[in-house]
Amino acid sequence: MNLEYLRLILVGFFALCCAGNNPLWALPPADDAVVNGVVKLEGNVPSPNHVDMAGDPQCAKLHPTGAMAEDILTDSNGGLQNVIVFISAGLADRTFDPPKDAATIEQNGCMYQPHVIAIEVNQKLEVVNSDTTTHTVHVLPVNNPPWDKPQPPGPPIEVTFPQQEVAIPVKCDLHPWMRGYIAVFKHPYFAVTGRNGSFEIKNLPPGTYTIQAWHEKLGTATQEVTIQASESKSLEFVFKPK
C-alpha cells in the first residue's frame, strides 16, 4: 500500500468524523434554550373577596385597611399572577439533583408569602414565621405524606417533599383564610408568574415539550413547543374566568 493512498483514507476519515452531524463525534447540544411568555386572564376580572381577620386580633392589627384574598390576582393589562408554568412531558427519564439552596415560604401578616411557590423534589423548604402569633403549618398533599406542625414565633421549620405534586395546598388551622400552594417538581424547568403574568424557563435542552400552566382556581392549559439549542420561544396562555 503506498503512502498516498493512506493519506487519502485518513483525510476522508477525519472529514467524515468531524462533519458535525456525525453522531460519533457530535458535541452535546448546549442546554440554553429558553421558553418565556406571559399568562393572561381574558374577560372580566372578578372582584377580590375581603378576608376577615377578626378571629385573631394580632393579625387584624397588621392589616388596618383590611386584607384581600389572593386567589385571582391580575395587573392592569390582564397579566395573571401566581400561575405555575412547567414542563409536563418531554423530558423522558432524565433525573436531576435538587439544588443545594433552600427555598423559603414566609408567614407574614398572617398570609403566605409567596402565595404560590415551586420547588424541586427533596429540595429543602424553609417555613418561616415572621409574625408574633402562632401559626400551624398544615400541608394537604395527595402524593406526599401529609403533616401538620404548630409554629410559634421562633425558628423556621425545614421540610422536603419526596414526590412530584402540582400543587400541595398549605393552610393554617388557626387562621382559616390563609391558603398557599407548594408545587414540587422532579426537574428544574418551571416558573411562577409574577405581577405582570410573565414567566421565563431557562437552560432547556432542545427537544419537544408539553408546557402546562396551572392556576389554583382557573384550571390548567397546555401547549406543545419544539425548541432547538440556543433558541428562545415565546408562548402565551390565556385563561378565562369560570
Binding site: 402562632t134 400551624t136 401529609p146 403533616w147 410559634p152
Partner: protein, 265 residues
Amino acid sequence: MRMKVILAMGGVACMLLFSTPDGRAQETHIGGLTGNAKRGESLYRRYCIFCHGSRGDGKGENAAYLDPKPRDLTAGTFICRSTPPGSLPLDSDLYDTISRGMNLSGMPSWKSLTRQQRADLVAYIKSFSPRFGNEKPAAALEIPREPPSSAQSVKRGAQLFQSMNCWSCHGKEGRGDGPAASSLTDSKGFPISPFDFTSGTRFKCGQSGRELYRDVMTGLDGTPMPSFKDAMKPDQVWDLVHYLETLAAGGAKVASEAETKPKNE
C-alpha cells in the same frame, strides 16, 4: 371424544380464569393473627361499604347523611396512629381503630366481630391506598413511662395549654369552643370540631392517659390537630396530659389561674 376435550379445555380455562390471583391480595400480621385480604373483602362488602364506599373513597350511599364523613381510605391518611405525623399507621393501629370505633361519629366499635375478622378487614383496607404498597410505616413513637401526676404537674400542664395555643381551638376551659373552633376544617374541607375535654375521657383514639400522650405527639392526620413532637419535650407532654385529664372533673379552674400569671414563669 371431541366433546370431552372441549369440556376439559373449558374446565381448565375456567380454573385459570377464576384462580387468577387477586392483585390486591395482601396479608397482614397483628399479634398472632394473620389477616387475609380476600376474606376481608367479603366482610367489607357486608359491613363497611355503605359508609366507606365500594371503592373505599368514603363516598358510600349514606355518606351524604353522615357527620363526620366516613374516612376516605384511598388517601392513606389515618387519624389514630402510633407513628410520626405523615407516616402510615401500623397494622395494629388500624386494628385498634376498627375495634374501638370512634366516639362521637358513625364509626361503631366492631369488637363484636371476631379477632380474625378484624384482622382480615385490616388486610383488605390496606389495599385501597397505593401508599401501603409503596411505603412502610415509620417506627412507632416511643411513649416513655408516665411520671406520677401532682399538683405541680397539673399547673405546668395548664400553663402549656396556654402557651402552646391549645386554647385557640379547644377553648379556655377545654370545651372545644376556642376562637378558631368554628372555622376548622378537616383534610377534605368539611367542618370539624375540636374535642371537648369536659365531656369525659372517651377521646377519638382511646381512653387512657398514654393514648392521649400519643395523640399529642403524633397529631391526628387528616384533622387540624397538629403534632407537637418537635414543639414539646416528653415531660412537658405528660404535664399537659395530667392537666387535660382534670378537665373532665372541672379542672378548668386551674386553667384560669394559669392565665393570670405571666407566660414565662
